[in-house]
Structure formats: C-alpha cells, structure tokens
Symmetry: C2
Subunit: 172 residues, 2 copies
C-alpha cells in the first residue's frame, strides 16, 4: 500500500513556440507550487529544403524532445495574428505538425492566447519580448537568458503551470 | 530477363485538396498517355472536436488512403489565397499534416498553383469550380460527377499527370 505523503505528483509541462524556421520548446516541472526548469531549446530547419521535408524535420524534432524529456502535457500559443495570409498559412503548416506530434505521443494539448501568456509571466498582456525573456529567467532562476524562441516556449509552459490549478486553457 | 514490352510502367498519382473540415482526395493511374480513374473520396472531420484530434484524424485518414490505394506520388495545390490570416492559419494546420503524411509514406510531393490546375483540366486558369468538376468527369469517363472536394483533388492529380511528362511541379 502506497504511503500518503501529501505531496502532489510532479507535472511536466512542454511549452511550444511554433515557427516554420525555428520552433522553440521549453519544459518545466511543477510540484505543488514549486516550478523547476527542466530543459529548453529550439528546432531549427534549413529554409532551402522542400516544405514537406521541413515539416517532417519539425515533427520528428519535437517527437525526439517528447521522447527524451517525457512531458505530461503540452501548451501552445493559441493564435498568431500574422501580417498576411501567406505567412499565416506557412506558420499553420508547422503548428499543425507540432499539435499532431503532441497528440500522437498521448499528450493533452492546451492553447493559450498570447496576451494570456504575457499576462501570466510579465503581468501585462502587452509586455514586450525582452520583458517576457527576463521574467522567464527570473521565475526559473536561470543562470543565463534563454534564446527568444526558447523563452517564449517556457513562457507558455509557465502560463499553463499557472492556469492548471485554476482556469483551464483551451484544450486543443 | 524481363521482356521489353515498350509499355511505360503505370504511375499512380494521389491528388489532395486540403481542408480543415473536408479534405478531398483522388487517385488516377497514368499508363503512357492513358489516364484511368482509381478512386476518390473525402475525409470529413467533425468540427466540434479539439484541433489536435481533428488534425490526427486528417493525418490518419490520408494515411489509410495511401496505404490502401498505394500511390507513387502526391500532388497538392500550392497555395490557397485565404480571405484572412485566421482562415489561412486553419488551412495551414490541415495542409501541414497532409504533406507530412505523404512524405512519411515515402511519396514525393508536388505542388501546383490553383491557376495551373484549372488551366490543365479546363483550359483556363480562371475556370469556375463547376467547370473543373465537369471536365474531371469527362477526362476520366466517370458515370457520375464526383463531389466538389473529390473533383478538386482529381484535378490536381490530372494536372500532375499532364505535367510529369514535361514541366515539373514545384517539389514540396
């Protein structure tokens, strides 16, 4: 019979910042109210390759991240208001294969609007990128600043960590 | 030693018309200059389901089509000029997982602009949908008209059949 320790089970959250060239990822672990940095990085795809091959690289790349870091759940920014339909379509391709990889690995996928992510980590839905980057570093007590893409991904993970106690994100 | 028959090997072409709710597909077989209808249909996804699940259904659906119909190559319309960034993003999600499925099954993916597809089957880059649907039926000697989504997919496959002798499409 398992002893009741009163401790919450750790929850590993994978945050993803989708991009057609660079996809940031960041994993944090939440134990009760404590947050711990696990890992972060970026999946970079050479722009010259054919589109389908690049999508396979993104899909396989996040798959390797999921296999090695074993998150319990994934969190992604809900929408990117692209400047034009073409860039939105391009981003959609990458985002599609990332969401697919998450669900293929059995992860529930939560989506949060950008302003909710910024509000969660920087206290303002309009916080600039540098402020988000700084606050992510402070929250996770990182020695150095993560790259912009990794910081955005960690911010989404932190946002989910914040919301999964109370308000749920949109389950994608 | 194989006898030289002088006959070209048949080429099975999978045409795909991506959509977030309905994805049309059509397979034609090209033997020399002859074209033969193989199959067509649509993958329909219930709109109420979470996005990642819908993408998995689209991905798995086209995977089943590829497994059962065994095409040699895939052809997809190159770009959809969406009315707004949001619908482009939505379409991009579906298109991304379709291209991924094709390359995961070892198919080369060719992309053709919509006007090239229309030109190939209806003689005009601005042909309306009904005309495309009619010409697809004529070209493939179909007893009945295929659905609009399936007809668009067959049109892309016919376009590739037309171009793969001469001008190549953009390899995606």
């Amino acid at each position: 019979m398992a002893a009741a320790t009163g401790k919450a089970a750790p929850l590993r959250i994978l945050g993803i910042d989708p991009g057609s060239r660079v996809t940031g990822y960041g994993v944090v672990e939440k134990v009760g109210h404590d947050l711990r940095f696990v890992s972060c990085g970026a999946i970079r795809v050479a722009p010259g390759r054919p589109l389908a091959e690049r999508l396979k690289e993104i899909h396989d790349g996040i798959g390797e991240v999921i296999t090695s870091l074993r998150p319990d759940v994934a969190a992604v920014e809900e929408i990117f208001v692209a400047a034009n339909p073409r860039s939105a379509l391009t981003l959609g391709h990458a985002r599609g294969v990332l969401l697919l990889a998450a669900i293929q690995h059995g992860l529930a996928v939560h989506e949060y609007p950008a302003r909710v992510v910024k509000q969660a980590v920087a206290g303002s839905g309009r916080a600039p990128k540098a402020q988000v980057q700084h606050m992510v570093r402070v929250f996770l007590a990182l020695a150095g600043a993560p790259s912009e893409d990794a910081a955005d991904a960690l911010a989404v993970a932190l946002c989910h960590a914040n919301h999964c106690n109370g308000l749920p994100g949109v389950v994608s």
